[in-house]
């Protein structure tokens, strides 16, 4: 019995590490090939270690523009999404009103709609409305598909929030706005931040919807897909590594803050 238990434990360990390796292998490859001292056009075989691509990070000017576009679009759409989504989440989590059921359904529908459908229908909407496609239409599209995620995370916090907290604040002399700023917002902040991170992540790597509504604006994912045929420069790996690194840092900071709160 005892040996079999040990064997089972070992198998479980091996299996666990295998899954972890499998999940992290694309990330490892991305990071690794950012250091590849490649000579040929393609960056697919390991040819030696270099820090050259970190030094020449912004040397591919089209790529730099595309990354900057993506960052600006992600930031702007995240801010808009968080403001609208928080208000929606508060309303849906706190009140029952005429149309709240339909709104809840729409939120779910927006999450489950295939991106292709959303992109194609947005394109026909913009074309028939004679709206020129550029960074603004990309932002509109990104707000549209990230909004539901902020609504869902905020609504979950609001539902778990004791309504007498806000009453207590009013009772102690706080105005409606003061109550929101000092009591409601700090209480739902984890939900708001989670929603913000989700919508930033969704925006910065979106390809499908963006490809329908971008006009002549090129974003980071669009540029990479376009460069596949001619060979993706190692700078893409470096940028990917940096974006991933920032994401990891935010996740760690969040975990530390959560531990301090608990």
């Amino acid at each position: 019995m005892r040996t079999r238990g040990r064997l089972g434990d070992r198998l479980l360990h091996a299996y666990t590490w295998l899954i972890i390796a499998w999940l992290s292998s694309p990330i490892a490859v991305m990071i690794l090939f950012g250091f590849n001292d490649k000579q040929s056009k393609s960056n697919t075989t390991w040819q030696g270690f270099t820090l050259r691509w970190y030094a020449e990070l912004f040397d591919v000017s089209d790529l730099t523009v595309a990354l900057r576009n993506s960052l600006v679009i992600a930031l702007v759409s995240t801010v808009i999404t968080v403001v609208i989504g928080t208000m929606l989440g508060l309303a849906l989590g706190r009140h029952r009103f005429r149309g709240s059921g339909a709104t809840n359904f729409l939120v779910f529908a927006a999450i489950s709609t295939p991106e292709l459908v959303m992109g194609a229908s947005l394109l026909s909407l913009f074309v028939s409305g004679n709206v020129p496609r550029d960074a603004n239409t990309i932002i509109v599209a990104h707000v549209l598909f990230s909004l539901s995620f902020v609504v869902v995370t905020v609504r979950a916090r609001v539902v778990g929030l004791d309504p007498s907290l806000e009453e207590a604040a009013r009772d102690l002399g706080a105005s409606a706005w003061g109550t929101f700023r000092q009591v409601t917002l700090p209480s739902i902040l984890p939900g708001v931040l989670a929603g913000a991170m989700l919508s930033f992540a969704l925006s910065i790597d979106d390809y499908v919807v963006t490809s329908f509504v971008n006009g002549s604006t090129v974003t980071f994912p669009l540029w990479i897909v376009g460069a596949v045929k001619t060979g993706i420069p190692p700078q893409v790996n470096v940028m990917g590594t940096l974006i991933f690194g920032i994401g990891v840092l935010i996740a760690i900071a969040n975990a530390v803050a959560a531990r301090r709160r608990a």
Partner: protein, 358 residues
């Protein structure tokens, strides 16, 4: 009590729309709560006591009627501009703030100078015995401590009245009894009007100067604890506060013939309902003297409860199977006067029969 009115409700009605139907939670309540009074709203859940208090705090708008604080009509004044503070059933302490910031919250809203905030919060924490715990978060504290933070957070604003919504409900019995005494001490110390909502009759009797017993959206009786207990105005009050025996029948010439005996109800004729408390009744085997009320019955159950014996006595000729409860103080020896199956006489003095709603 100075006799001044701290809180007045004038024929206040509160209606809700529930599933398309109008429900009256409060059906016309008129109250006049005096300055410095410890006033309780007592009743079962759903009787409208919490709704009544929330209308005083300003969280609910009356459908009809007026709410006045110190003579001023505040019916349409929002809660943040009413000079009353509330202690919530769930305490509603701000979880992201320290004890100190929780208590200082109200003063900060009023832009009180920083040194005054420091002084008053410090004093208040001393009154509720929480000095040294300023930096704690609410969730790091016990229920009793959270309760005292909630109290301090409300009282530090020196409100004209403090509203307490079943504040001891979440505490265990020992702590609850300790907090009852504590609350009374704090109320004496700060001299503020307390309005206390509870469904616990013991709590209301222990602490209150006056009690309004509510049932089904109406005040059934408004009086001091002794009056409520000794002279309940309605059958509901008699049944809700403590244990009560009800005897009904037609009285003739000030005597109600019932249970093979008589209940003396001087000055009453016709159909009456008489209430008598179990501890006023003496149990014995001899027919009582004629100046006492006396009824006959058979002991159905004897329960030994330490400080007293409790008897359930089936009334003789009680066509409706009336059962009389009797408490016998365990003053001398631990043996009960009567046993199950014994035929007994129950007697009490005429003054302890109280005719309800006559």
């Amino acid at each position: 009590m100075t006799g001044l009115s701290a809180i007045e409700l004038e024929d206040v009605v509160k209606e809700y729309l529930s599933h398309g139907e109008v429900v009256q939670a409060v059906k016309g309540v008129t109250l006049d709560i005096a300055e410095g009074e410890f006033f309780s709203l007592l009743g079962p859940s759903g009787c409208g006591k919490t709704t009544t208090m929330r209308m005083v705090a300003g969280f609910e708008q009356p459908t009809k009627g007026l709410v006045k604080l110190h003579g001023q009509d505040v019916t349409n004044v929002p809660p943040n501009r009413r000079d009353v503070n509330m202690v919530f059933q769930s305490y509603a302490l701000f979880p992201h703030m320290s004890v100190w910031d929780n208590v200082a919250f109200g003063l900060k809203q009023k832009r009180t100078p920083a040194d005054e905030i420091r002084r008053r919060v410090g004093e208040m924490l001393e009154i509720v015995d929480l000095t040294g715990r300023e930096r704690r978060r609410p969730r790091e504290m016990s229920g009793g401590q959270q309760q005292r933070v909630a109290l301090a957070r409300a009282l530090v604003n020196r409100p004209r009245a403090l509203l307490l919504d079943e504040p001891l409900g979440a505490l265990d019995l020992k702590l609850r009894q300790a907090m009852q005494i504590e609350l009374k001490r704090i109320q004496r110390e700060v001299g503020i009007t307390f309005v206390y909502v509870t469904h616990d009759q013991g709590e209301a009797l222990t602490m209150s100067d006056r009690i309004a017993v509510m049932n089904d959206g109406l005040v059934e009786q408004l009086a001091d604890p002794r009056e409520i207990y000794e002279r309940p105005a309605t059958a509901f009050v008699a049944g809700f506060i403590g244990t009560s025996n009800l005897l009904t029948g037609a009285a003739a010439g000030g005597v109600l013939k019932v249970g093979g005996g008589r209940v003396l109800v001087p000055g009453h004729d016709g159909d009456v309902t008489v209430t008598v408390r179990p501890e006023k009744i003496t149990i014995g085997t001899e027919e009582p003297a004629p100046e006492l009320s006396g009824v006959r019955g058979t002991v159905a159950e004897v329960v030994y409860l330490g400080t007293y014996n409790s008897y359930a006595v089936n009334l003789a000729d009680g066509a409706d199977g009336t059962v009389i409860t009797v408490f016998e103080q365990n003053a001398h020896d631990a043996t009960a006067t009567a046993e199950r199956g014994d035929s007994v006489w129950l007697s009490w003095q005429a003054q302890h029969s109280y005719v309800i709603g006559s």
